[in-house]
Amino acid sequence: MVEFAFSDIVWNLLLALRWTALLSVVAFIGGGAVGLLVLLARLSSRRWLRRLTRGYIEVFQGTPLLMQLFLTFFGLSLVGLDVPAWLAAGLALTLFTSAFLAEIWRGCVEAVPRGQWEASSSLALTYLEQMRWVILPQALRLAVAPTIGFSVQVVKGTAVTSIIGFVELTKAGTMITNATFQPFLVYGLVALFYFLLCFPLSLCAKSLERKFHAAR
């Protein structure tokens, strides 16, 4: 058994934390981009497209992230790809994030008062012009706080990728625990690091939300 000093534990967890952070950023940015497409499809005037995206959102919100990971992981290997864990993790989390963000953003678009649609209609703007110039700029402001709030869920979601073997913070915690037999300390530290990552985001989301409500 390797002797682990406290500082070794912390250092190794910090190294793994980078992967948690990187995966979170990739999933958040990728999920945001895909989510925007899902949002536009969800708001489309074509019924089949609306239904399809509603199903997409329903499936991702109605099944465990772990199952989404497994299906991505094993699904990709079915089509003959040799899938590294990071790829399956990044892809599954991106899709997961896109579904939730699309739904959050749809709520923001619907929160823009009807009068804004009417006023811009009466000025002869087309649907896309209304979206581009009147509705989305307002929805975007509404969306900032809940979007940052959801980023916390993404960071926490990355922990599940440890189960398919992606070595991020949680997996590193398990590996170090197996070597040190100090689960209380190690998982305590793991939790602390997640907290340090997530709590500022939570605070930020909360203060933005308060600011927005005060501004109204």
Partner: protein
């Protein structure tokens, strides 16, 4: 190379899946009931200017909401024995779900409590009701009614989150799936079917919770 799907390889495992689903449901029921109870108590504690209790509850809520459920589960299952507290798999899983949902529902119910107009509480105070009586009779029911959809969603999220309890060998639905695919080597088919089961469970749970909400909060009709 074209892959041949083979769902028939799942036959014979129906009992196992049913048992796993049963455990997932049990975990959800325990977690839901105790978690919401904690949420009500927590919201009550935070609504009062009690010196120690309110900040302790606030810290509990923030710690739980800003760490992954999987890490909470590992901490309880692997970490607590270091303090001489040994939990079985089901106990640890159930406890983790209760603790997790307790924090979220504290926050959700608190938002409902805060939405109750000040005048309602002043009216109750003017009728000489105690703070606990006011909370119990005037504040709680309309607050719960208001946040019921958010609370229901959170219960569904916790049910879906229980899937990681397979990692401490609690024999719920995902554990059953892992077991089956280690036997029949048909991972994709197994997880596909189990994912569909989860989807069905979450639709069912949402429906049940909305019916429950109607039953709890519907206005009583006279005559």
């Amino acid at each position: 190379m074209a892959y041949q799907f083979d769902f028939s390889s799942l036959s014979g495992y129906g009992d196992l899946l049913a048992k796993g689903a049963g455990l997932t449901v049990s975990l959800t029921v325990v977690g839901g009931l105790a978690g919401v109870a904690i949420g009500i108590a927590g919201a009550w504690a935070r609504s009062r200017p009690v010196p120690v209790l309110a900040p302790v509850v606030a810290a509990y809520v923030e710690v739980i909401r800003n760490t992954p459920f999987l890490v909470q589960l590992f901490f309880l299952f692997f970490g607590l024995p270091a303090l001489g507290i040994k939990l079985g798999e089901f106990q640890a899983a159930a406890l983790a779900m209760v603790v997790n949902l307790g924090a979220y529902s504290t926050e959700i119910i608190r938002a409902g409590v805060q939405s109750i107009p000040r005048g309602q509480i002043e009216a109750a105070m003017s009728l000489a009701m105690t703070p606990l009586q006011i909370f119990r009779h005037v504040v709680l029911i309309p607050a719960l009614k208001k946040i019921w959809p958010a609370l229901s969603s959170q219960v569904v999220i916790v049910m879906l989150g229980s899937s990681v309890c397979s990692q401490i060998a609690a024999e719920e639905l995902t554990f059953a799936a892992n077991f089956i695919q280690s036997r029949n080597f048909r991972a994709f088919e197994v997880y596909f079917v189990v994912t569909a089961l989860y989807l069905a469970l979450s639709i069912l749970l949402r429906w049940l919770l909305s019916r429950l909400g109607q039953a709890l909060f519907e206005r009583r009709r006279h005559g």
